[in-house]
């Protein structure tokens, strides 16, 4: 089964499950979303984002790829055309306020009032969401900031500020969380804490989470779905498994053989092959399905093979490979 049919099967299954739940299949959908700050400078190119309900969707891309612009467009911070953005199955522009009531967000740096305490910051947002007073204590406990609640926010560490920003996003118990680089600038401990928090929000509180990052390693462990954006183009979108399969298709196939120079001549017309050293060759852009054929050629020519297999590339390498190919 190809990755696309596998992905399609998964989408259909999810769709049926969510329809039974009364939830739309996709919490966020964009339809040919375009955006430009000036007519000559297009930032987003016909983006068709699909964030499945109940997922942790990691929106990945290098700095300047268009992640924040996309998230800002989703929240109505940038003017879009009617029909381009739908959230909870509703067109955003005609349902802006009712949709925003169901979203918690953190865009770019934590947006906090430095002169107020943690509790006061939460109170400001609680009033705007008209949520219950007890939520302040609840979200302070969820984010581990209860003891620091009466401390002025400008004295908080960056990690505490990030956690408070997430607490603000949670104060009205939203169904959807949009978090723009929530681990940005954090130390390894802070990254782990934030990752655990995101996982917990998904598993215990059933939030759909859209999280952007330029560091794949930070989100790789929590994501159920990925979207990869580069220069405003959505290069990949799908479930974790689909990306893993794509990874194996794109990763390097390494061969250790007896006569490397002859093997190179045999393979170079059919594959993208390079000599690594006197005993090894590497083949790039080769899928798993093509490997028996490749081995077959070498066996036919009676070239002895000592070792053959895909080299272990992490998701980070894969991501760079995808955005640079």
């Amino acid at each position: 089964m190809s990755i696309y049919s596998c992905f399609f099967f998964r989408l259909v299954t999810n769709a049926i499950l969510h329809r039974l739940d009364g939830m739309p299949e996709f919490t966020i959908e964009t339809d040919q979303l375009d955006y430009s700050f000036t007519p000559s400078q297009k930032i987003l190119h016909t983006l068709n984002l699909r964030v499945p309900s109940g997922s942790i969707y990691c929106f990945l891309g290098p700095n300047g790829a268009g992640k924040t612009t996309t998230l800002r467009a989703l929240l109505g911070l940038l003017k879009t055309n009617p029909g381009e953005v739908s959230i909870f199955g509703l067109p955003f522009l005609s349902n802006r306020i009712s949709i925003l009531k169901r979203i918690g967000s953190l865009i770019e740096q934590p947006s906090l009032y430095g002169h107020l305490t943690g509790s006061e910051n939460l109170e400001v947002f609680r009033l705007s969401y008209s949520s219950e007073k007890k939520r302040i204590k609840e979200v302070l406990e969820i984010t581990g900031l209860y003891d620091a609640r009466n401390q002025v926010v400008r004295t908080y560490s960056l990690g505490m500020k990030q956690r408070l920003a997430i607490a603000l996003a949670l104060v009205h118990d939203p169904e959807l969380l949009i978090l723009d680089e929530p681990t940005n600038g954090l130390d390894p401990q802070g990254i782990i804490e934030t990752r655990h928090l995101i996982k917990r929000l998904h598993q215990e509180f059933n939030k759909t989470i859209l999280i952007s990052s330029h560091l794949l390693s930070e989100v790789e462990k929590v994501a159920t779905h990925f979207g990869i954006i580069h220069k405003g183009h959505l290069l990949f979108q799908g479930a974790r498994k689909a990306l893993q399969e794509l990874r194996s298709e794109h990763s390097t196939f390494e061969i250790e053989a007896e006569d490397v120079d002859r093997a190179l001549v045999v393979l170079e017309n059919k594959f993208d092959v390079r000599k690594i050293d006197d005993s090894r060759l590497s083949v790039v852009r080769i899928s798993k399905d093509q490997t028996p054929e490749l081995i077959g050629f070498l066996v036919q020519q009676k070239i002895r093979i000592y070792k053959a297999g895909f080299t272990q590339t992490n998701l980070e390498d894969q991501f760079i490979q995808i955005i640079t190919s």
Binding site: I97, S111, Y113, L127
Partner: protein, 258 residues
């Protein structure tokens, strides 16, 4: 809708707590009356005879003259920028626009905060005038503040007129402060417009120029028509109504928010 607006306005007031705008309101209101205490107590030989017959009237004039001439306009320019800067400085505009609030709610609730601060400044200013008048008499018992009644009606009347006179400046500065994230720009424009107004204050159509309204309302202006103060107040109301409408449409229709 109304309840949501009230809750959001309450949130806006909470944001202004402990800010420079709050302290500017309190200290700004006390500044002139306190200086006048030092002035009177420092030179009793000169000021006791001057304040002899009607101490409150003269003391009130001492305070309002400097306020209407310069300090009130400066205060309005500064406080408006400071209140709006709370969002710019903390990088919170984007979060404000991502809240389930209408654009009108965001625009007018913050405007109400600036408005209440200015109104509060007027109340405090009058309070400090009274306290400082009595304080002067306590420090130097030859000042006759205790033996004369406080002219409440005159104080209220002047305050209302001056309040109306600053409304146009308030609206223009509010719009500029929302438009420009850099604190210096609305401040600079406000100061430049005020200085320019002062240079053209004898112009026969000065009643169309908002930054001179406090000056026109408080002072008698030789060489200008006698109804100039009244015209200035009416035009201030017109400017503030029109400015609010135009300002709101401009901010609500901006391509990028926050």
């Amino acid at each position: 809708m109304t309840q949501s607006f009230l809750l959001n306005t309450k949130a806006e007031f909470l944001k202004s707590k402990k800010t420079a705008a709050f302290w500017l309101t309190v200290i700004g209101a006390a500044f002139t009356p306190v200086i006048n205490v030092f002035k009177c107590v420092g030179r009793p030989d000169y000021f006791i005879p001057v304040l002899q017959s009607d101490p409150w009237k003269v003391f009130l004039e001492y305070n309002w003259q400097i306020a209407s001439f310069f300090l009130l306009i400066m205060y309005v320019i500064l406080v408006t920028s400071l209140v709006v800067q709370i969002e710019y400085r903390n990088g919170t505009w984007k979060q404000v626009y991502a809240l389930p609030r209408s654009y009108a709610d965001i625009f007018f609730s913050k405007f109400l905060v600036v408005h209440v601060m200015i109104a509060g400044c007027f109340v405090l200013f009058n309070f400090f005038i009274v306290v400082c008048g009595y304080g002067t008499a306590l420090l130097q018992d030859q000042f006759q503040f205790f033996s004369h009644p406080v002219p409440w009606s005159e104080m209220i009347s002047v305050s209302i007129k001056m309040y109306v006179s600053v409304l146009a400046i308030l609206v223009i500065q509010y719009w500029l402060s929302l438009r420009f994230g850099n604190f210096i720009i609305p401040m600079g424009i406000g100061l430049a417009l005020f200085t320019f107004g002062f240079m053209i204050r004898q112009w026969e159509h000065i009643d169309y120029y908002p930054y001179m309204y406090p000056f026109l309302v408080y002072f008698k202006n030789p060489g200008l028509p006698p109804d100039m103060a009244q015209k200035a107040m009416i035009h201030s109301l017109v400017w503030s109504g029109g400015g609010l409408g135009v300002g709101f449409l401009d901010i609500a229709n901006r391509k990028g928010k926050g």
